[in-house]
Symmetry: C2
DNA sequence: CCCTCACTTGAATAATTGCTCAATTATTCA
DNA sequence: TGAATAATTGAGCAATTATTCAAGTGAGGG
């Protein structure tokens, strides 16, 4: 067996050697660290659901109570609340209580930029 | 959704009336249409996976063969190829064949902007 | 020609996710 | 206080998804 290549892998993993070590090294240096990737993917994942995206784009216009959000989505109050909890947990939305009602609004201007950037992509 | 809001829901849906009709109407007008939301959420969903995000951020530095990408991720060739197919399908990456090897690169500059915008959000 | 290598693809599996339903909290009003 | 309303929460379920495994394709090399 090749000197550098242990390859005890059941699956051939491309001879266990980088095809272009220098290039891979350079790429590796320029990549965000693992934590950033993880955090970033979490945000994208949260935005990667039509229901949540609708909530975000609605709240980017004005604050709304849970009830109105649910109507706007055509979803149940419960489903809406569940999604709002997820958005709240990631600090994308904040809530304000007024009597029996809870008003939600965006907590982060960055999200609007992401939406705008994404819509530009769609427009192509 | 119908402006009249039929709401024959079994679950009490906030008295079947908008709490603030005028506000909801205004919000509704400013929201992207359903197709845009769907398309946009699909892009975010694809970016919402650490493996794919790593691939994208690697390819934003330089083109790479499947083998090197897999190494960079610490993933199997197969898993990598599967994810590349998804990215290819959404036209986020393109591929170029050279002998036995296949080189992948970004197909869409917009994605880099999305990544950059997202990283700004993380930085907070 | 056969064999190997780089990669693709399909099926199976385990984990995740978004929804509904039911119960619960919190607030208002009679 | 007790009934009603707005919203939250947890359990359970169906659908989706990321990975692995195994088989298959296609380009070179001996």
């Amino acid at each position: 067996m090749a000197p550098g290549a242990s390859v005890k892998d059941n699956h051939a993993v491309c001879e266990a050697e980088f095809v272009d070590k220098r290039r891979v090294g350079a790429v590796s240096k320029h990549m965000p660290d693992s934590d950033s990737i993880e955090a970033l993917s979490e945000i994208f994942k949260v935005l990667g659901d039509p229901t949540r995206l609708r909530i975000i784009s609605a709240l980017s216009v004005d604050e709304l109570c849970v009830c109105d959000i649910a109507h706007l989505l055509g979803a149940s109050i419960s489903a809406t609340s569940h999604q709002l909890r997820i958005l709240r947990h990631l600090h994308l939305v904040k809530h304000r209580k007024e009597g029996k009602m809870v008003y939600y609004s965006l907590d982060d201007a960055c999200v609007e930029k992401l939406l705008a950037e994404g819509l530009k992509h769609i427009a192509e």
